[in-house]
Amino acid sequence: MTQAPPQPATITLDGKVIPFKAGQTVIQAAIDAGLYVPYLCYWPGMKPYGACRMCVVEVEGQRGTPASCTLPCAPGMKVNTKTPSLEGLRKGILELLLSEHPHGCLTCHRIELCGPTDICLRHAAVTDRCVVCPKNERCELKDTVRFAGVNLESPLAYHYRNLQIETRDPFYDRDYNLCIVCARCTRVCDELRGDDAISMVERAGKVLVGTSRGTSLLESGCEFCGACIDVCPVGALVERKPKWAKAEKKVTSVCNLCPVGCQVKLEVDRLGRVIRTVGDWDSPANHGQLCFQGKFGTDFVNHRDRLTKPLVRKHGALVESTWEEALGIVAERLGGYKGGGYALLASPRSSNEDLHVAKKFAREVMGSGNVDLALDTRPELVAPLVKSLGQAAATGTFWDLERAGCVLVVNSNITEEHNVAAVPLKRGHRQNGVKLLILDPREVELTRYADVWLRPRPGSEGVVLAGMLRAVLEAGLEDKAFLVEMAEGLDQLRASLARYTPEHVAQASGITPEQIAKAAQLFAASKPGAILYALDNIPADQREAVASVLVDLALVTGNVGKPSSGLYPLRPGGNVQGAQDLGFAPLAGGVGAAGLVEAIQAGQVKALQVLGDSALYADEVLHALTNLEFLVVHDLFLSGVAQQADVVLPMAAFTEADGTTTSLERRVQRMREATGPKGASHPAWAALTDLARRMGAKDFTYADASAVFSEAATGAPLYNGLSHQALDGNGGVQWPMTPSGGTGNLYQNGFPAGKARLLPVEVTAAPPWNNAAFPLLYTPGRVLAQPHRDVAVLRGKGLNQVQREEQVELYPEDAAAAGIGEGDRVELVALGTRMLGRAALSGRMRGVVSVTMLFGQLATVLQASEAHDPMLRVPPLDVLPARVQKVAQ
């Protein structure tokens, strides 16, 4: 008997033989082969849905007309998409769809005849006109109608749903009169984001997208990531701000608002404005996902307040000037401050090119080691990684965490500060059963998904982790083989853990020995395990000690160097990793951001150069600046700092210059020039190059940003083999570069020093809080939804506003001491904040008062903000000393 020859993995589509990969459906194979099959409900990356029936096909030898988005490829399958019966069927289905969608715009017979200035006279009713749809010219339904060859006869009758357009939620406009019920939005929210803020409600003929009982998005659990807008094929969901704007071109770049490194498509209109950011669905960094910041926070680049000309101080006032004059002044003045009297602060969002040239300028031209990032970027988080493992960076790739066994998240508000890094966690938890272990005294969005949420007394997080580590070792749950082969120092570690007995931990943190044992068991047994940590609310001098425990925990459980495992320090600042890699930090003995105020006040630093984001500088810095002799600021806006400057140089925004940025997962990616620099602004590196040459430096000759990067890469061993050209591909490169490309997981082939070093544990809990004026610690929280709490939404003319009384959670004995009973009206006073609310005696921790707010409240504030850069001002959830007192009802 002869076996049938194995069939090649190909199908025939309309006579063309195309290959397919295992598990692909017909539509996926067709798209990969560059063939068009019309579809409206399918979206790459989401589960097949088969609702719109646009992609129906016929298979030779089979009955019926299956949808190609749900039809798995089989070798040798012969598929036709264009038979007369299919075309008739598709047209019929489309007509049904159009029976509820205004379609004057789709079927108008003048669709190709109209010029840009024509006014529509009786071809289509006013409300049906193509120009009144925000998705005009970018509507997928239109493409489908044209492809299907629906008759262009103006216009058929349709049933208008007559629904109110939802314009009162932040950032979004929703017009469900245009909805074709493809369910892409609800599926993206559920499958790809794990939020479920919207669902299909009602049934049959009345089914539409909606929220529970028709509430606004502010209460339904929406994180305003905009994913639903990006997938909507029609004009139902759109961004409010650039609602009517049309893109002339789309440029692939990287969002630099946070260090997750989401690849985006910047849409630019004919006036050269960046109108829209859309997540890049092909990017390995974010798989098409963005967050409220990236999606709605990039329009500051178009702001009318942008600086367009250099300003110099004349007779006490800043007046417009030329680059020639301004740089001449800077060159002359700075010449007098060479050495330690000069310092340079750069925004952590600066490109690698800016940082490299700034560092080189400061060291070589100014002879000063005083360069630093302007904000606290928590270098302590990576210090133990260097000591123990070798590299100051996250060990793995965020998106791999979708397949982890357990993820431990320590004091991190990921959803707000590193949003897209939370997406694989939420998806993994919901779809692959990834266990989520959260350690945080605050209630944040991820706690909703937590399998175990340890809520310790603020300041005792490190002790809890030490207790967990001890419990892992006591229970014999460590990865013995890994520890023998790959790590050293186990005995010292064991010895240092002796004092973290369950009783000691419970006493310090309020976490019971059972909870500790459960958490230890969960983390050690669910492999691979990963640890994400921002260490919010842990004092700077304690962060390194706490991070060391985390490194130990990862090593002891054998969770380093394997896919979907590892350590992820969540540092703030868009390009904080690039600055780390390029050594953008003060030299030994130099002045950094931390000591700058004192150095200025002591007269040690006399001249300061500031690169970008000076609006975020703390007030104390602002005050200290008056002691400077010379201040030069490169920035986008005339901030408070810039107003004090002697010279202000307009800087190009991240959408206006070529450059690179490095994400937390070591991904070096290219930011591309989408529009020309505004006015006479220049990238900081270009201005500094010019300045250096004026000051007589020879070695500052760069043809373009790519030349800068090549020089930077030569000097930074981690960037070996990287260049703009090498980074041009999708998703850039995760350093270190190897002959086969980037490195998703560090230490896969061992550690640079041979073995990793386990670090002895030296954490201590913060001493009991004792302050007469502010006797309590306030732990603020912010979550997307609070199903238990009554929320009233004020449906005003403008934005909807969340109106509610906050619930102030108190420990019963603390409440009793202050004479507060359940339901009493109370006032909470903490440093810099004051709020009214109702007391709830449900607190579990003595001395701690908690209030959990709704993300919707923040979203309306961000939407209404007048600041140029509201997304950089998302208030952190800081634990603060507080007092609570009863007030009159």
């Binding site: 559920d190 939020d195 479920d196 669902s199 409600v201 049934r203 529970s212 199903p787």
Partner: protein
Amino acid sequence: MLRERVRKAITSQPQPVVTVLSSLLAVEDEMGYIPPEAVEEVAEHTQSTVNDVWAVASFYTNFRFTSPMERVVEVCWGPTCHLMGAQEVMRCAQELLGMQGEGDTSDGKVTLKYNTCLGACSQAPVVMADHKLVGRCTPERLAALLRAERTGYHAPGAHS
């Protein structure tokens, strides 16, 4: 308290597999309707979101979201009951309550519903009054039920 009643209904479901739908049914059985709080409680209990629970709840026309009237009368409309005279029973009920289709009386006392099948075809035509099955129902029996002296209820339009 409302929430506690709802919670108890959700947590005391006897079957091994608890779903959004089964929980909603348990609430409907206990309360006679799905109050807004129940959507939240079911979401919590089934580790779902309020939007998902609402998607299920709003799909089924048999759930009601406002509290029912004092008395609920359901007239079976299934084929067997139809053949055995349900139309007459229904017409009598509508006449007595002064309404055209189904719904709540304007005085807020009685809810009248069509029921697709009460599963008691052997006793057709069947009516369910306040969760109690009334078999072989005639217009007269129904009228008696509605006018029953024990409730003292006098439906608008009822001749007594």
